[in-house]
Point group: D2
Chain length 277, copies 4
């Protein structure tokens, strides 16, 4: 989940929605793993230098520290993630978001066959960043590859190069279907969402309609009334049953919301690259 | 789950059954809470003085220390429990089993309206044991009441007095339906199972058929072949689909398996007592 | 530690002082237990309803979530506490601060012989609050007794009654020297510090000199220059070697700092009461 | 600490010695970091397949699960380690021992400048093992390099090649003093101890005298009386003040104790190798 817009108490969106990211961790209907209880992570902008990070291996539904933080921190831009571990240990350094300076990344999905390609991927990470890798997830490696590929200059291009490289590496090992999922990325000013799968159905991704349209559709909904222009929520699954309030982001595409509200859609197609730029 | 019989590697029964107590923590079909991810506890007899205890708030399916312990400890008698927290914090001291000297107790269920009756119940605990209460669950209080009522001399009678007292206390506060669930109790020599509910359907409880009968039914099943007379498994839900291998314990009744294999069934009816014996 | 005054990033005072509360958890010189590594707690006012709470059993020096929160949350009033467990389990519900509505309490010290008096103390807690006790520390029980004794109306009087009751209860059991330590209390507007011991040397407590005096003493100190009237820090041990900057609070006395800066000193003498008011 | 000999309850040596490894975690006198509270690890042989592993980030002195396991598990060969994190996160996958099949390794010390050389070291790990690295410590990388260098065939030679390679890699980056510390290694049959430092004073390492000699020196010591031929304890610091009972292992040397008691000393000198064998 990613929020950009007016400052809100984080709990309003993480705990107090009809179908919350935390509810979803128990009964995720559109998601692939039915119980996402292997950790929770939050990256939020607002006070202090760069984004703050809260990552815990306690299941989201029973973590008092998370509830407290969410109830007492306001933020105009944050990313939240519920983890279902696929093959790597449950530990805080394996929780998303991953962070470098002002940049955050979350990933709902996986990179397949990491056991075969992890070495190749890590060798392609900028040597100056190699020792920054602290955990053992696929996403952390992907994040450092993306940084190596210029995430901080042009995140979409960097991710296209990165995923292309991962797919090429997989093919070298005789594997396909390497990458699945949606990504949330931010630098504190803008919020990107990417929806992609190498093969098959890509995990879902939705963005909330602009405040105006939502208020015309639902003039009596108290929460919708509070929305301001520029407020956008990007989610794996809609957090409220409000038909017309959610725009599905097509597979192989991305969106970016800029601070102030400007919204762009663009295609997302990995580049076939054998070596990272 | 409770095992009594020949020493077995704990993992054989906790992790390596067709429908394990750990599997059940993800997809519990007969259970009331669909995801029991609020902690795991194990009490085992064998080596050292009295039973050992392992209690963790990590969900059972992702706890490496639990897997390691289960794979490297053999025990002729142990109790395992997966917790779904209902109203009290997720912390190790709120995990079952509860222990006093050689005695262990696990409880799959709840005591209702604890917020109303907790004070009354705790005041009835033997003053010498009062300060031993370390957590905030209903079951821990019930355990210390049972000790006060003579658990160590006659567990069934003690539990009948205890549950009767809890029900009487509830009625004083205008509540019914106070106690629900199944209990596993052991002293290192015998293993008791109790199935009871004040009102409505009691949670399920099964005991495995004796080794002889199981081997006649399933002569080609490798695991069944290894069974010896005296081996018994008491479970909330059958851990393998073997028709005829499981005997359902009726509600309002109890069983006890003695070291060596002798098995007794008895009724279980709480005594209407206003004050603990 | 307690801070009241202008909003500051929590890390400025928890991590970035010459002798910080976190440094002290490793090499506490004036403290009684040399390594306070059994948990950390933080209660802060500012955003959201009432104070937020962060309590963790990870030692303060190695908890990334604590560092992150402290670096990205600003607060005009907060209490921090490093725990050295004396006799009760290390669990989050045994970490300070304890909270009820807008009120927080931390305690650096102990109540002796809890095993003997816990039952008597808990029976004196307002029955409506009894089931709110979640952990097993002495301080949590003291907190609920103080609430029972009117903490929310007059904290000093309530603490005098409470400690007097604890001491009287101890004497009934043939014990003296029941209470030791310093207390920090707040309601989000005012900050109280109490220094007391039933017998012997009371743990230390200091309050920072007013901003004016400090700036005259240390005109070249960058941090001191940032101070404003009304800014006060109450600490167990001075966080910087600045002679003249710290006023020691005498044993058997208390201070209160009001929002806006007004400071009062008063004596603190427990009332000899057999039963809570 | 490493024990080889008759099966003993693990707690006898981890918790119940005059100066225990757990005591030492609070007041380590000969050690370099005064408080080793960043985790504890235990690897033990005996029951089940290969060694069991218990690794926890809870400080050793306050971990009930560790005490329980130690009090209820007997082992004829085990390694225990208390961690003081130097630069890498406190997480279970960063706790020692590290394990591969039947082999365990613990390290009391560090590899310097890992941020500079981590990439070079990881690239030298056998590509088939690369993705087994789960954490971010220096020791885990050293362990996988040692496996690559034939640890399972000849541990001393493999460690000489490994440390030589690390030192050569450091020199390539303009650094010296790369490796410091003592190592404990076992395969379930034999127990090796290595004492080494690239530069300066190597951390201490001691081995207990043979049972015979100890019983002649201390005929009235109850614990010493229980010793049998073949019992040996290898420790960073003596666990009891028994002059003559401890033989200091010289720096740049190693010992091995074989199941049955045979003891060998040998020199330990890293090979100057630019590339792993």
């Amino acid at each position: 989940m990613g929020w950009i817009g007016q400052p809100v108490l984080i709990e309003e969106l993480v705990f107090k929605t009809q179908h919350g990211i935390v509810d979803q961790s128990l009964h995720s209907k559109l998601g692939a793993e039915t119980t996402n209880g292997d950790g929770f992570g939050l990256g939020w902008y607002g006070t202090g230098e760069g984004p703050g990070l809260y990552r815990s291996i306690s299941p989201a539904w029973s973590d008092p520290n998370l509830r407290e933080l969410a109830a007492h921190v306001q933020s105009p831009l944050f990313l939240a993630h519920v983890r279902a571990a696929i093959g790597s240990p449950v530990q805080e350094t394996n929780c998303h978001p991953f962070r470098k300076d002002d940049w955050l990344l979350v990933h709902n999905g996986y990179v397949a066959d990491m056991h075969l390609i992890r070495r190749d991927l890590m060798m392609a990470i900028d040597p100056d960043h190699f020792a920054d890798v602290q955990g053992s997830t696929d996403t952390e490696v992907l994040f450092y590859l993306a940084l190596t590929n210029g995430l901080m200059e042009d995140p979409i291009a960097a991710m296209e190069r990165t995923i292309g490289f991962i797919e090429a590496t997989g093919r070298r090992h005789g594997r396909t279907g390497m990458v699945q999922g949606t990504f949330g990325i931010s630098n504190g000013e803008d919020l990107w969402g990417i929806r992609y799968a190498t093969e098959g159905a890509a995990r879902s991704l939705f963005i909330s309609t602009d405040a105006d349209a939502m208020q015309r559709l639902y003039p009596d909904n108290a929460r919708v009334t509070l929305l301001k222009p520029g407020d956008r929520l990007i989610v794996s699954e809609p957090v409220a049953d409000l038909p017309g309030a959610w725009e599905e982001i097509p597979a192989h595409s991305a969106v970016v919301v800029h601070r102030g509200g400007e919204l762009d859609h663009m295609p997302f197609e990995p580049l076939d690259v054998a070596v990272a730029a």
